[in-house]
């Protein structure tokens, strides 16, 4: 089963949430932001070049122009490779664990896997972020020595920052899987 719904992020941008249910206890959630638009790319490039040209007319040194070209090219590459995340995926399999993948605009992928016996719970938490107070989804990890305590908090969908309605959707599905997982471990 697969469906796609449109939500928004905390700044009002468009987000698409894709849900893929491979089986009832193996689910994938995929939050994708819109790709880098040609308009913003052109406007940033134009501003950098105009500033560079302004400086060039002031000090009449042509290295400024070549530097500006290098800066825009390198900046674009760096932005696509290290900053701009197009898609964030959360894959939860009840007997195995949780896998989080973030794919950058350049195609680079970053994957983290958390075993199920380390996961204590998945919760929605509140935080003060810049000049905002936001909700975020996070995975609580068990402390290996004291299973009752939490050793670490791993935020999910860190770059997309979806709003509460989207988070609740994901949260509810994850809780269903976790509840099933707990029931099976206590039975065995």
């Amino acid at each position: 089963m697969e469906d796609e719904r449109i939500f928004s992020d905390i700044c009002g941008g468009r987000l698409a949430l894709q849900r893929r249910y491979y089986s009832s206890f193996c689910r994938e959630f995929c939050v994708s932001c819109p790709r880098l638009s040609l308009r913003s790319l052109t406007s940033v490039t134009c501003t950098v070049w105009l500033v560079a040209y302004g400086l060039f007319t002031l000090c009449e040194n042509s290295t400024i122009l070549s530097a500006a070209i290098f800066i825009t090219v390198l900046g674009l590459l760096g932005y696509l490779h290290f900053v701009k995340i197009d898609q964030e995926t959360l894959l939860i399999i009840d007997s195995l664990g949780i896998q989080m993948t973030s794919s950058y605009a350049s195609g680079k992928e970053n994957t983290t896997f958390i075993e199920m016996d380390k996961v204590k719970d998945i919760v929605i938490n509140e935080a003060i972020y810049m000049q905002k107070v936001i909700y975020y989804l996070c995975i609580l990890l068990k402390d290996p020595r004291e299973p009752q305590k939490i050793s670490q908090v791993v935020p999910v969908f860190q770059s997309a920052k979806p709003r509460l309605d989207c988070l609740i959707e994901v949260y509810k599905s994850c809780q269903e899987v976790l509840a099933h997982q707990k029931a099976t471990t206590t039975r065995s």
Binding site: I10, G12, A127, I128, Q131, K132, V133, I134, R163
Partner: protein, 484 residues
């Protein structure tokens, strides 16, 4: 009126027990408010304002309101925390400038405070303490956003020196367009009205309360001989000179009489002189400065509490002592006669002779066993100044405030210019306009519709509902003790 006895409990509506089951909302007499308490001073910092905010919030939550607290971050305590019964506290990452008070630019806190007011759907902003700049900032922003505002003043100020002239001017500006002001005593009201040039009709008096569970009697801590306890700052106003006359007189007359004196101040030296002169080192103990948490342990050691104040607005010390089961002997000054009923207090004129007579009469009663037992006194006193009563009266202030209109920007500017002098008035009117423009800018960047509405922990739609059966039981208990 500083309330006397349980007299005015009866008139007030009973706690909204119907908040327990959502089905009966329509029948509930009181409406519920979303209250935001703002102050720089909150736990983990310790003090009177902090405990006032906490206790008041807890009582308001039990009465079914939604309460959140906004303060600044204390070291590693930042972000959002929940306290008992789902009391939500925002520790905002603002820079602390001086004495736990944040720096103010009047604008920098607007984005965060606006975000919080919108997401929590706050209807009343209640600021505490005139020393807290965050509280004043919040009032300023709340008025810009068109929310209802209440301010509680916890302290007395002078008029003479430069710093108090400046703070009084700022207070005038801050309070001239605030909907309602609460003071903790009548002296405080008089002081605030004069300092901030206010209309006395918008100032209410709601006294502080004592947590009776903190001040419980413990008669086995008492020694065989009779002990008189004095706990006050050792200053002229507290009548320490009278005390110096009383001590030798009574000590000569009664061989089994001891004094315990707690507190510090410039008059300590004359007490020490008296002790030296009459060789009373073993019978008069000077404890020096006391922490608030140690006061109870000192009070329970005595039989009689002596208060020799020459002027007093509302004496909290005698309520605390009576709650510990001590018999009170006090001077008849200021608001003291209103604080306790006659059978619990012996009132004397502020003279050595009259106070000695009062004390002798009390000692005689004590020896003959005519006085009520400490438990009896405690049980009577604990119903007088309860936080539930404070919460009920504060609730009435909220209802009054919500029935009024918030000043529009025009009226607010007029008020500022006409009220605060031409220079200050125009300056702050300009700032108010700038703040309004900043708010419009913020609304354009992040419209209100983009701000997620927070999940309520307390109030009518509270998520922590499993706490309500418990609070219902407690409300019942309180009702029983009030009717007793």
């Amino acid at each position: 009126m500083a309330c006397r006895g349980g007299g005015d409990h009866v008139k007030l509506p009973s706690p909204p027990l119907s908040s327990v089951n959502p089905g009966s909302f329509a029948t509930c007499p009181t409406s519920f408010h979303n209250i935001c308490m703002v102050s720089d001073f909150f736990y983990p910092n310790m003090g009177g304002v902090e405990s006032h905010i906490y206790q008041l919030s807890q009582c308001l939550i039990q009465r079914g309101h939604k309460v959140i607290i906004v303060t600044h971050a204390y070291e590693d305590r930042k972000g959002i925390r929940y306290l008992t019964n789902g009391l939500k506290v925002y520790y905002l990452p603002l820079k602390v400038m001086y004495n736990q008070s944040t720096a103010t630019t009047l604008f920098h806190s607007l984005p965060l405070l606006r975000y919080i007011f919108v997401r929590e759907r706050v209807t009343v902003v209640h600021s505490h303490s005139s020393f807290s700049s965050l509280a004043h900032d919040a009032l300023f922003h709340a008025k810009t956003m068109g929310l209802h505002t209440v301010f509680t003043d916890h302290s007395l100020f002078g008029f003479a020196d430069v710093s108090s002239v400046l703070t009084n001017k700022l207070l005038t500006v801050s309070l001239c367009d605030t909907n309602h002001i609460i003071c903790v005593s009548y002296t405080s009201k008089e002081n605030t009205v004069l300092r901030a040039a206010l209309n006395p009709e918008i100032v209410s008096v709601i006294p502080n309360a004592v947590d009776p569970t903190d001040f419980t009697p413990d008669p086995c801590k008492r020694h065989g001989s009779i002990t008189i306890v004095v706990v006050s700052r050792l200053v002229y106003r507290k009548g320490i000179d009278l005390l110096c006359g009383i001590i030798p007189k009574l000590c000569q007359k009664y061989q089994n009489l001891n004094f315990i004196i707690g507190g510090e101040g410039p008059k300590r030296i004359i007490l020490e002189e008296v002790r030296e002169k009459y060789e009373l080192h073993d019978r008069v103990r000077l404890l020096g400065a006391l922490e608030h948490k140690d006061v109870r342990d000192v009070l329970v050691q005595g039989h009689i509490f002596l208060n020799t104040s020459l002027t007093e607005a509302f004496c909290m010390a005698i309520v605390e002592a009576a709650s510990c089961g001590l018999q009170i002997v006090s001077t008849r000054v200021g608001g003291i006669p209103e604080v306790l009923p006659e059978n619990l207090i012996v009132l004397c004129e502020p003279s050595v002779k009259s106070l000695c007579e009062g004390l002798e009469k009390t000692i005689l009663q004590l020896n003959s066993g005519a006085l009520p037992t400490p438990e009896n006194i405690h049980n009577i006193v604990k119903t007088f100044y309860t936080w539930t009563n404070v919460a009920q009266r504060t609730e009435k202030v909220y209802e009054l405030v919500l029935s009024e209109d918030v000043l529009s920007l025009n009226e607010r500017l007029d008020r500022l210019i006409s009220h605060c002098g031409s220079v200050t008035g125009h300056m702050f009117a300009l700032l108010a306009v700038l703040n309004y423009l900043f708010l419009i800018f913020l609304r354009w960047i992040i419209p209100d519709s983009l701000i997620d509405i927070a999940v309520d922990a307390t109030g009518p739609r509270g998520a922590w509902t499993h706490h309500y059966p418990h609070s219902e039981k407690r409300d019942d208990n309180e009702k029983v003790s009030e009717t007793r």
